[in-house]
């Protein structure tokens, strides 16, 4: 098993190398002269040249690349001009907020989409099936920032069921002692149920927004994969042997149908991490997405590049985790590897 995980790690390496090369290239195509940008508008040509030498911008590209890799290896992503903090620290401080939101969104989405997809496949042509099709098509068409705003209007302004979309906690409360960085988990661990309720009331609306967004691909895939498994010979054999329908569907078909769904999760994460940025802006969520947006608006490039790199590395690791999970769920894949 360990050997397999090591094997999968090796397959993730080229992706990581690619990611590092692309982010490096993105730092080199900055509009205009980076040295002039850092020197400020009033700098003399000598000062610009000095800063260029200081930043290593007069070196050959390959030397600059090696310096970049060395910086990355030592965790140096540059310093944010707006916060004055090293980018790595900023990202580390804000990552739990984004991760909590994304994971909760995914959890809600899977909890709704998988049963919906299974039911749609089992009762093909029924109203559940039609509902499933509507959800799948509408879900991919909804701009996630628009869904978020609609939910805010309905649940905050009209119904008053949700607090104002202003971050992770109302200002009456202070954050729980940091354990995982997830407020929901930390507040429970500290035994502060009131705080848990407060954190939950803030997070459920953005999480539902993300869930609606990722509902479509999961539902679609579950339905399609259940349909193809239900038509397979082994399901017919199980039925012919007189097994109960529930046993056939849940015990035989569902377990096999789960595999393509797990594969789809990789794609879903790609969408979710992007959608997360937009949802964070709508709900003023203090995660790395809103950090990147603030930096983008003030033309503060180091945080943006750090953000793109962090997201890409996270995504590669998530795909790796999905691969390993796939090997755990499906013994056949394990044997092949």
């Amino acid at each position: 098993m360990l050997k397999q995980i090591a094997g999968r790690l090796a397959t993730a390496l080229p992706s990581l190398v690619g990611v590092v090369i692309v982010t490096f290239l993105l730092t080199r195509v900055l509009p205009g002269d980076a040295a002039a940008y850092f020197a400020g508008p009033a700098a003399t040509p000598e000062a610009v040249a000095q800063i260029r030498a200081q930043l290593g911008l007069d070196q050959p590209l390959i030397v600059q690349f090696l310096a970049y890799v060395k910086d990355l290896a030592t965790g140096n992503l540059g310093t944010s001009l707006t916060t004055g903090q090293p980018v790595l620290d900023d990202i580390r401080a804000r990552l739990p907020a984004s991760a909590e939101l994304t994971l909760l969104g995914l959890l809600i989405s899977v909890a709704v989409a998988v049963p919906l997809g299974v039911l749609a496949a089992v009762r093909q042509g029924s109203w559940i099936d039609h509902l499933c099709r509507v959800v799948a098509t509408a879900g991919v068409s909804l701009p996630v920032f628009f869904t978020g705003l609609l939910l805010v209007y309905v649940f905050y302004f009209k119904l008053g069921w949700a607090p104002a979309p202003l971050g992770r906690l109302d200002f009456f409360y202070s954050a729980p002692p940091t354990l995982t960085g997830f407020y929901l988990v930390d507040s429970l661990a500290a035994g502060e149920f009131e705080l848990f309720r407060a954190a939950w009331s803030q997070i459920w609306l953005p999480a539902v927004t993300l869930a609606i967004f990722s509902l479509a691909p999961i539902t679609r895939m579950t339905r399609a994969s259940m349909l193809s498994v239900l038509a397979a010979d082994f399901v017919r054999t199980a039925r012919a042997s007189g097994l109960k329908p529930s046993k056939v569907v849940m015990g035989y078909a569902f377990r096999n149908a789960l595999l393509p769904v797990i594969t789809t999760l990789g794609m879903v994460f790609s969408f979710l991490l992007g959608a997360n940025v937009l949802v964070e802006k709508v709900f003023a969520w203090p995660g790395i997405g809103s950090y990147a947006i603030e930096a983008l608006i003030t033309s503060d490039f180091a945080p943006v590049q750090g953000f793109v790199l962090a997201m890409a590395v996270l995504y590669v690791l998530l795909n790796l985790a999905i691969d390993i999970l796939y090997g755990l769920v499906d013994p056949r894949v394990r044997l092949d590897a």
Binding site: S141, F146, A164, A312
Partner: protein, 292 residues
Amino acid sequence: MSLASTGTTSAREGLLAHARHIVTENPVTGLAFGLFALFVLTALIGHLIVPIDPLVSDTAAALQPPSARHWFGTDQLGRDIFARVVVATRLDMVIAISSVALVFFAGGLAGLAAGYFGGWTDRIIGRICDTIMAFPLFVLAMGIVAALGNTVTNIVIATAIINFPLYARVARAEANIRREAGFVQAARLCGNSEIRILLTQVAPNILPIMMVQVSLTMGYAILNAAGLSFIGLGVRPPTPEWGIMVAEGASFIVSGEWWIAFFPGVTLMLAVFCFNLLGDGLRDLVDPQRRL
């Protein structure tokens, strides 16, 4: 399928019959075609038919809810939202169409070459695709626009780049299964050069599949561009564009002025919905086996 050709009808008549069958069998596809025509028309002549200038502000009439005079209400500067939504259609369509056209040629040709020649070409293009796919796509688009500069052209380029793997992979797969097909070998025997065979024999054959890909990704391209301008990239105020209009209305949602963000948002959603339905319809037409 009941309308399959009886052996005497030509291929073209068969396709037309099939198209008719799909539109009549699935009225939703017909509706999508109608909606699409409406969007195209709005993009072409929208700026001529709006009754009020979309850029003129009238602070006395700011933040008015929808009425007979202002169908979609007015925003915080008293600009007419209906006029702005209509006029914005062209910019959104131009961004989506030009990015899709760009990736259609770049990704299509790269994929063709990869699938047809194989070997190193295939490996390099495959590696480029893998690298792009290693990023969460919207995040990569943000990074590209941040690096290249905050302009509409760069939004088009970024949208094209993140769609590149989709096109390249479809074209590669389709070109690959045709590289030793009878008609390709015949063309080779006639002494055509490989490039010529690729462009005149293989490319036209994969065109239908690529067109399906176009309409399936068009919706995504609009969403992506609107998302980028929602976070303040590319389009600058006061230019009307759906994403930026939703962003402008966002701060008024909490105080109940829903119409500022609602109408551009709904229009955006309809446009994406229309392209997705159209893509599904086209796919049924071109490749009935892939129907979900």
